[in-house]
Amino acid sequence: MIVFGYRLPGMSSLIVWGLLWELVGRLKLTFFVPPLSEVVATLYTVIGTAAFQKALAETAYAFLAGVGFAIIIGIPVGILMGKNRLLDELLLPWVNVFLSAPLTALVPVLMVLFGFGMKAIIITTTLFGIWIIILNSRAGVKQINRSLVEMAHSFGASPVDAFFKIYFWAALPEILGGVRIGIIRAVKGVIIGQLLISIVGFGALFELYSANFLMGHFWAVLIVLFALAFTISEFLAYLERRVSYYAAKR
C-alpha cells in the first residue's frame, strides 16, 4: 500500500486494528473486550505470575517434544517412501487420509490410552505435524533430478555418501517447507490438545480465567500465544527462503 509516495510496511495496518480495539474497549460496548491498553498492562503482570510461566513451560515442553518426534520420524519415513515404490504405495493412502482427517476426533482415544496428561498432548502435537512433513520429504526425494543421482554414481559415490551429500541436500528445500507447515500445524495441535485435556498448560489457565471472568488476563495470554505462533511461522519462512535460494535454479 503506497500513500503519498511512501510505502507503508506490510503489517502496519495492525496498528489501525489495535486502535480500533482500544476504541471498542473504551466505549464499553461489550464486557468481553477490554481496551487494548488495559490488556497490555495486564500482560506485564500476567507474564510474571507463576501460573503463566508454568503453563508456558509445559506448553513449550509438549510442543518441542511433539515437533521433535514429528521431525525425527517424519523425515526418514518420507525419504524412504520417496525411494521405495512398494513402501510408498502401501503408506501413501494413509498419509493422505490423516493429512486431511479431523484429528481432533482422535484426542479422546489418546486420552483413554495414554492418560489425561502430557503424553496425550505430545502425541496430539506429533499427529498434527507429522503427515505434511512425511508428504513433503517424499515429494522432495521424488523430484530429485535423475542426472544428479547418475552423476553421483558415475563419480563413484557410495550409497551412504549419495544419501548425505546428494539426496538430503537436493530434497532439503521441500523438507524444510514441510517442516514449516508441520510446525504451524503442531502449534494448533498443542493448543487443541491442551483445551481438550484441560488440566495442564494453557488449557488449565484458560479454565481458570474464564471461570473467574478475567477478560484482561484471557486476552493477554491470547496475544502472547498468537504473537509466539506468528513469530515462529515467520522465522521458519525466513529460514526456508535462506535455504531455497538454490531450489529455484535447479
Binding site: G10, L14, T104, A105, V109, I191, S210, F218, L222, F230
Partner: protein, 253 residues
Amino acid sequence: MPNRSLLLKILSAVILFGAWEIAGRVPVSFAFPTFLESMAALVRMTADGTIFTAYAETLKPLIVGVAISTVLGIAIGLWVGLSQFFDWLFSPIFIVMQAAPLAALIPLLVLAYGIGLTSKVLVVCIMAMPVIVLNTSSAVRNTPESMKEMGRAFLASDTAIVLKIIIPAASPVIFAGLRLGISAGFIGAILSELKITPTGVGDIITYSRSIADYPSMYAAIFSIILLAVLFLNLLEKIEVVLFKGNQRGYVSD
C-alpha cells in the same frame, strides 16, 4: 497383475486393520477394542439409527459454518485481492489468524455466546475462514498478467475483466482453499462438540467413553474420520473434473 495400485491399496488397508485387530486381541490396553468389535458397534449404531441422529446434529454447525465461511471468505478474499487498500488493511489479520492457534478463542466464545449453536458455528468459521480468504486473495493477485492485458487489449471493461477473466482464472485455487477450509471446519466442528457441549457424534464419543463402551467410541471416531475423508476426496474429484486443463495452457509448452 490386473491393477497393482488397487491391490496395494487393499493390501495396505488389510495390514492396518489387521494390526488394529491383533493389537485389540492382545490387548495393548483395556481401552483398545479390536477392529471387528468396533465395526460391529458401527453396524449396530447404523442399524438402530443412532448414527444418523448424531450426524444430523453434528453436521448442523458444520454446514452453517462452512456456508458462512465460503460466502464471506470468498467475498473478502476477492476484495483483498483486487484492492491494495483492503489488502493492506485485512491481509495481516488473516495471516496472523492462519498461523495462530485459534482454538484458544473457544473458551471466550463460550463466555460470550453461550454453549448453543452460535458458538459452534463461530468455531467452525474461525477455523475455516482464514485459509479461504488467503487462497482467494492470492489466487486473484496471481492471475497471469498477460490474461488481464489480453482483456484490456480486447476492450474488456473492468467488470468484465473481473467476471470473465480473474474469477474463472482464480477458481481452481479458490476451490482448493475451500477444500482446505472444509477440512479445518471438520476439525472445528468436532472440537466444539468435544469442548463446548457434547452433542451429535461428540456425544457418542464422550458418553461411550464415560460408560467404558470403547467399541462404540472407536466406531464413532472411525465414522467421522471416514466421512471427512470421503467428502474431501469427493471434493478433490469434483475439482479435477471441473478444472481439467485450467492450469495448463497458461504457459507455452
